[in-house]
């Protein structure tokens, strides 16, 4: 099982990313938990410059954009 973290301070793009990730894992039957990280101090521990970001098992896979379904599936494989 994979642990997915969505990093974002609560802007519209971050919410869109959370939804996109949830949709993608439901649609493709991927076994994963999704957690939203909104605290800026925690976010900055991942050393990113732009939000939203998608972290899979503590590795930053996508940053600075709302990912497409294909990108999410690729990040999870």
């Amino acid at each position: 099982m994979k642990t997915i973290k969505i990093l974002g301070t609560g802007c519209a793009k971050c919410k869109a990313t959370e939804q996109a990730v949830k949709d993608a894992i439901a649609k493709n039957n991927i076994d994963a938990t999704v957690e939203k990280v909104e605290d800026i101090q925690q976010i900055m521990e991942y050393n990113i410059l732009s939000t939203p970001a998608v972290v899979v098992d503590e590795i930053v896979k996508i940053k600075g954009k709302v990912p497409s379904e294909a990108e999410i599936v690729e990040a999870l494989s």
């Binding site: 609560g10 802007c11 800026i40 900055m44 050393n47 410059l49 732009s50 939000t51 600075g64």
Partner: protein, 324 residues
């Protein structure tokens, strides 16, 4: 370049909808149709060009460049210019700020980036070309960059590190030069679909602001007599610029919403420098931005930051009035 569009709007409003050519409604509708289509075309062109630039100079690369190279004062110019070419999203300003501090980039240089980023961006440039022409756009962009440069330089000289939030000071103490980035090796044609997708999503994000902005602008265009505002803000009033800036700071809108209205202000007699100073204050400084920055700065630092930037906006307002 847009003659065909003029003809198209004439035909649509006066022939298809059969609205009298000199009526107020006809004026307003014509303005709305013409401006909306023109702006959307320009927006698509500029966001695509900026998208291409950004694809080759992502913000991570810029940060690492600034962090590793000694630039002998030029770093303020570079940071400010980079701020202009990166797309601005208010929700990214805090991670960006911390990311820069973490990379060991001096506070003043970080501020230079942070000042220019909301002022000069693809949306502002597209709207500016459409409404005020190329010359005014060039002056706007260069004064935005100069403003960020001087603002950042002065803020850097003020030694403000002690006014950062305590946890940010911790980050500052552990700042280190950034490692090399993995270069994304993609051909231009591989990048292009993503660039178009991004351009469209930027346009989608500001679409309603533009429609509403141009809508309000069109109504003012059709129904407010030329010279109307001069009764209130006279050209000779030496305090017009600072008053416009003070009014603009608490307000917030992006360039897309505020520029169509600014254009009408100018057509109806407000000096362009005063109008642009107002716009810069609305776009660059705002209460939502202040609350966001509160996560990394004390109120005192936010006040100094806003004060210095407002001062330079007022200066450039006077400058615009002199040269345009």
């Amino acid at each position: 370049m847009f003659d065909w569009l003029q003809d198209l709007s004439d035909w649509l409003i006066y022939s298809v909808f059969t609205i009298a050519q000199s009526s107020k409604l006809g004026d307003a509708l014509h303005f709305f149709v013409y401006d909306t289509i023109k702006i959307l075309i320009l927006l698509f062109l500029i966001t695509t060009v900026m998208g291409i630039v950004n694809s080759y100079f992502p913000v991570d690369k810029i940060r690492n460049y600034l962090s590793r190279n000694k630039l002998f004062g030029l770093e303020y110019l570079f940071a400010s210019t980079f701020g202009a070419i990166t797309p601005f999203c208010s929700c990214s300003s805090v991670p960006l700020f911390i990311g820069f501090v973490k990379g060991g980039i001096p506070l003043g240089v970080t501020f230079a980036f942070l000042i220019t980023s909301p002022l000069v961006n693809e949306v502002a440039i597209a709207l500016f070309i459409g409404m005020f022409g190329l010359k005014a756009t060039l002056i706007y962009v260069s004064s935005g960059i100069i403003l960020g440069m001087f603002g950042g330089f002065i803020l850097g000289k003020l030694k403000l590190e002690k006014y950062l939030s305590p946890w940010v000071q911790g980050v500052l103490a552990n700042a280190s030069k950034e490692d090399d980035l993995e270069e994304e090796k993609q051909t231009f044609s591989q990048r292009l679909p993503f660039i178009f997708k991004e351009a469209l999503s930027i346009i989608k994000g500001v679409f309603w602001y533009i429609i509403i902005g141009i809508g309000i602008g069109a109504m003012m265009h059709g129904f407010i007599p030329t010279g109307f505002f001069e009764n209130y803000i006279s050209k000779d009033n030496p305090f017009a610029v600072p008053i416009a800036v003070i009014l603009g700071v608490p307000m917030y809108s992006n360039a897309a919403g505020v520029l169509p209205i600014i254009q009408v202000f100018v057509q109806k007699g407000i000096p362009i420098g005063t109008a642009i100073a107002f716009m810069m204050a609305v776009v660059g400084l705002s209460i939502p931005e202040a609350t966001m920055l509160k996560k990394v700065m004390t109120w005192k630092l936010i006040a100094i930051f806003f004060g210095v930037v407002a001062f330079f906006i007022i200066l450039s307002g006077y400058m615009f009035n002199l040269i345009l």
